[in-house]
Assembly symmetry: C3
Homo-oligomer: 143 residues x 3
């Protein structure tokens, strides 16, 4: 249980802040900003069973396609994160395992909170910059 | 997407901790402690369309008036925050944009989680102390 | 309202990270890892009115007994934390007061989010390691 000790408090706070801006970009529909948080060859699998999107252009295209389903259905979505657990990988990158809940709001409605997910990230820290090498989402209700 | 780099990890963690104490004070009904987290001329607009309260005494008065609505309706309220995104402003202060959910519990009941909000704060950091210059709450269901 | 100033940002981030690993261990059923986050004579009262478990073996035994109730009822539980508020105690340890929500998911179902709790912890920081001396859970609906 001391694997967290291998990650400095300084890096931990930076990862939290990285996620805050990243997820606010996603939820605001700023897909290019979201994609820019990935490495150039970053891999993003937003749903179990979905084909992963690869590269920043691929990620933007996937997000545009996904959100097209909600044309004519005005919806605001907020991805909440909790318990960001970091562990160093052998190559110097970081594994990050995070709880997520999706809060969905429609005009005049109350928030729906679903699904509950586990986020599996690999983060690369180079010259002070944090980038996401891969993200895979696991859904809690599928077991 | 690198605007977060302009804020140190040290300041980021301090802002998180500031919010933790601030919001626990509010939810515990310690309105003077809550008001004391604002600057002397701080501005607090807790609901869209509401007249903003100005100054610490004004903030306390507004909170007392607001909570009077719940006389005879015992209720516990917890304001949850997520994804605190900081960005430096030109004058050296910080813009802070935060997700919020209000958890409401009544005796013997289950939590209701609503509304989902966006918190727009301006924070002043002076001689090591953090103070809130203004807070404006946006409700997600109003769009 | 400046009691948070007595806790460094570095320690604050470390406590957050400690909780992330600790609670992911609990929710994954790694009870020995969870118990190892307590001091040798650590005290854990997971529900109001329950007899507190004492010591790591006692904590593991209590968790096994508690989860036996859910034999034949597949359930995934995620404990969310928010607003970790630290305050130094006279003996150099830390009081930590934290909001918690329990997210429960069953196969194919939607998350249930209950109860809302207040976590009362005492943390010991020695030679760089964080350990939990005691944890007591208060339920919000009991008032």
């Amino acid at each position: 249980m001391s694997e967290h000790s291998a990650v400095t408090a300084e890096l931990y706070a930076r990862v939290q802040h990285f996620y805050a801006h990243q997820m606010q970009a996603l939820d605001a529909g700023r897909f290019e900003d979201y994609a820019a948080t990935f490495t150039k060859d970053g891999v993003f699998q937003h749903s179990p069973g979905a084909e992963p999107a690869v590269g920043r252009d691929g990620i933007v295209a996937e997000l545009i396609a996904f959100h097209r389903r909600f044309d004519g259905d005005p919806v605001r979505r907020r991805h909440w994160f909790n318990h960001i657990a970091l562990a160093p990988l052998a190559d110097g990158s970081l594994r990050s395992t995070v709880y997520a809940l999706v809060v969905t709001v429609r005009p005049g409605g109350r928030p729906e909170i679903a699904p509950s997910c586990l986020v599996h990230d690999e983060l690369v820290v180079e010259e002070g910059a944090i980038e996401l090498r891969s993200r895979r989402i696991e859904h809690d209700q599928m077991f």
